[in-house]
Symmetry: C2
Subunit: 455 residues, 2 copies
């Protein structure tokens, strides 16, 4: 029956859009959450246009077949994990972009990489700020589906702050335009914002209108090492209460050592924490802000403070911070956490994670977008070791419980996906869960869009 139904979809879409080759299906089973329980799709569909997406969803609704939307598959929460018998709809072939320097907006299709969006708008002297660590390999559509963050958020906010409009295709195949290239627009409910971060559960994003900024100025960078996590965390609170750094990143001892193992750039292996901070304010203000951050680090007992206004020197430290995940990954497979807490609880979260690591005899290194209270504990384990895998997953859950207990969130920027779904209600409560479900039911009554993701 499925094969018959699939013939109908193949007939409706351009040649080659529907793929059933088993090797290709296998390559679309998992995203970067590497869910071992991933299913295998009936087919991978690669639409090239909004009309293709509409045809796919109309067909899916008619045949009651689930659709898992997917960008470049770099998600870390299993939001794009394939389901047996479902369609994986990848937007990778939808790659157009037009930039309007006068309105400072860009209209992009979802399959373009974040880095490609940045490059295309830079050619017009403009800047698209959001910069998830995966910016060179993740798609703008996926960024919007997860409301992705990054290093710049502490000053420049998250993806939703740059989305002025969307075209989305609903479960029944209807294409809807929301918002547009208007900087202020309150006509009707804030539906554009509702679709940002909806993880493919409400519709498929087929086009996005992005707000752009004038180019970022060259930053001054301040790096400091600390004997204690608490001192580093306290400096974050002091800095953000007074000024707006363009970056304020944290690495713990394990991360420092993992990076130093590989890059051998002379990082202090004995430090308990390292902060990488930057300001992109120009001239006297920038100098003043960099000096202020250096002073705060010193006042909070930093072992060493290093400031530079040389962009290459600064970039080396940012690269070290960006290299943390690959560096720690060299030690084993990762369960990548994404918990966030209100700023004052940052040190308590980090020390709590250390306790969980000790309890379960695991290496868990912690990096953080400290200025946002958003941390990434990286749980290292060997998937071939069943007992260790079990302990890793136990720790994964305990870290979320810890964050929620501290008034925090189970996910700051990666999304709930399938991996974190069991913890969502514990954070947001039964009333908010019910509200999520009501919206979902109103927009996707047949539950064909990414069932099992988020809620």
């Amino acid at each position: 029956m499925s094969a018959d139904a699939l013939a109908g979809l193949i007939a409706e879409l351009p040649e080659g859009a529907v793929v059933t080759d088993p090797d290709i299906l296998a390559s679309y089973r998992q995203d970067r959450a590497f869910d071992p329980n991933a299913g295998t799709a009936l087919a991978v569909v690669r639409p090239r246009s909004t009309a293709d997406v509409q045809a796919t969803l109309r067909w899916a609704t008619a045949n009651r077949i689930a659709v898992v939307p997917r960008g470049m598959g770099t998600g870390l929460s299993g939001g794009a994990t394939a389901l047996d018998g479902a369609i994986v709809l990848t937007t990778e072939k939808m790659r157009g972009i037009t930039v309007d320097p006068v309105t400072r907006t860009a209209v992009a299709q979802p399959g373009l990489l974040n880095a490609e969006v940045k490059k295309a708008v830079a050619e017009h002297g403009l800047w698209y700020p959001p910069d998830p660590s995966s910016f060179e390999i993740c798609s703008i559509g996926g960024n919007i589906a997860t409301n992705a963050g990054g290093l710049c958020c502490v000053k420049y906010g998250v993806t939703t702050d740059y989305v002025l409009g969307l075209e989305v295709v609903l479960a029944d195949g209807t294409a809807v335009r929301l918002g547009g290239p208007r900087l202020k627009d309150v006509a009707g409910l804030s539906l554009t914002k509702l679709f940002v971060g909806s993880e493919g559960t409400l519709g498929v994003i087929t086009e996005v209108t992005l707000r752009l900024l004038p180019p970022q100025q060259v930053a001054s960078t301040v790096v400091a090492t600390f004997d204690s996590v608490e001192a580093a965390a306290q400096s974050v609170v002091t800095i953000t209460g007074r000024m707006r750094p363009s970056m304020l990143e944290f690495m713990d001892s394990a991360s420092i050592n993992a990076v130093e193992d590989k890059l051998k750039m002379g990082l202090d292996r004995d430090a308990a924490a390292m902060m990488v901070a930057a300001t992109d304010d120009r001239g006297a203000t920038g100098i003043q802000d960099a000096e202020f951050m250096a002073e705060v680090f010193t006042k909070h007992g930093a072992k060493e403070v290093f400031s530079t206004s040389d962009p290459d020197e600064g970039e080396a430290f940012v690269a070290a911070r960006r290299f943390c995940i690959p560096a720690v990954e060299l030690k084993g497979s990762l369960l990548l956490e994404d918990v966030g807490v209100p700023l004052p609880a940052l040190a308590e979260l980090v020390s709590g994670v250390a306790k969980i690591a000790a309890n379960h005899d695991l290496l868990i290194s912690v990096i953080a977008h400290a200025g946002d209270g958003n941390t990434h504990p990286l749980i290292v384990y060997d998937p071939a070791d069943a007992a260790m895998s079990e302990r890793a997953h136990q720790a994964f859950g305990e870290i979320m419980d810890l964050a929620v207990g501290l008034g925090g969130t189970i996910t700051g920027e990666h999304g709930v996906g399938r991996l974190k779904r069991p913890w969502l209600e514990g954070q947001i409560g039964p009333e908010a869960m019910e509200l999520n479900r009501r919206i979902k039911a109103a927009l996707d009554p047949g539950n064909i869009l990414n069932p099992g993701a988020a809620f």
Copy 2:
């Protein structure tokens, strides 16, 4: 029957919370849209707590009585216009606030004035940016219900950008907490953002968690007059493509003259347009940006350009701009428009409005948050003159049609309310209308929350 039902509500709420005095009911018939077709409520309810709001909505649902939520009644689109037989629920008695300088957040009840929020957080050295022109008399709850804007938006964004969390009471009386004091949080759908700008149609806001910034720096102000609206509008595009002014406001000839009539500060009565721009970057950057704006104005043929870094001098021009609405109001009653367009269409919008004014033999002055493409054509008329009222309302509609035709919006920051409802579908289209209705039906199936507002 209504009186019996009302007795039930009176019994459930604290003494004095339910008001039925006819004079008081009359004073809650209209907001600042002064809708002549406003009804008279059955009662005005003044809750002091979330529990009071819950009791009111439970009662309203049980008795199928409509509820019109209201802040301070400063809305300009008739979102709080009373309905015959409904309850007007005013949040004016809910006025608590606590500020947490460490997380840079404030938790406020909805009835507090915007100015009171600004003042409370300033006592902790912090800043709440959104600044609608009515900031001294409008409530923070109303600001959130309309996603209010202001003069600072061009650099600092709108209300939604500062709302981290909400407590809302749904139609059935359920209280739901959404978001919280976390700078990044993607757990579940973006429901906080959905409620911002929902104009009382989805729930009643009973508490809000606001994101705060370090204090704004003293601004440098640049004022320029022009012989043509086009030249002024073109300068806006040039400036915003290169830098981020903290204010970029436009006044047309009629506004300049109305202000000068009253303030007699020596404004150029012959100018076709006046721009009031500011930068709040400090030190060399600020000086450089102010010089850049002055150069751009000159290059676009400004008649006169005046720059000052003296805060009092600068403030005089901002005050002149803020005084536009009261000044024009001295000439008659106002229909206050709020249309927005993509920046390049700004001049065409302003000249189109002038044509509409001429066609209908009306005075329509135009002020604009030019950096956002958000304009406020002020239509002057005499409500006692039936023919003139008719022409004014005709012009009101034609201006919205003009904006939508230019790719714009019928409302940039005031909301749809009841006044603009007939134009909403023309802008957002039938598919987006249907999506609005589906969300509304999912959250308020009995349609008791602000029926007739927005959609």
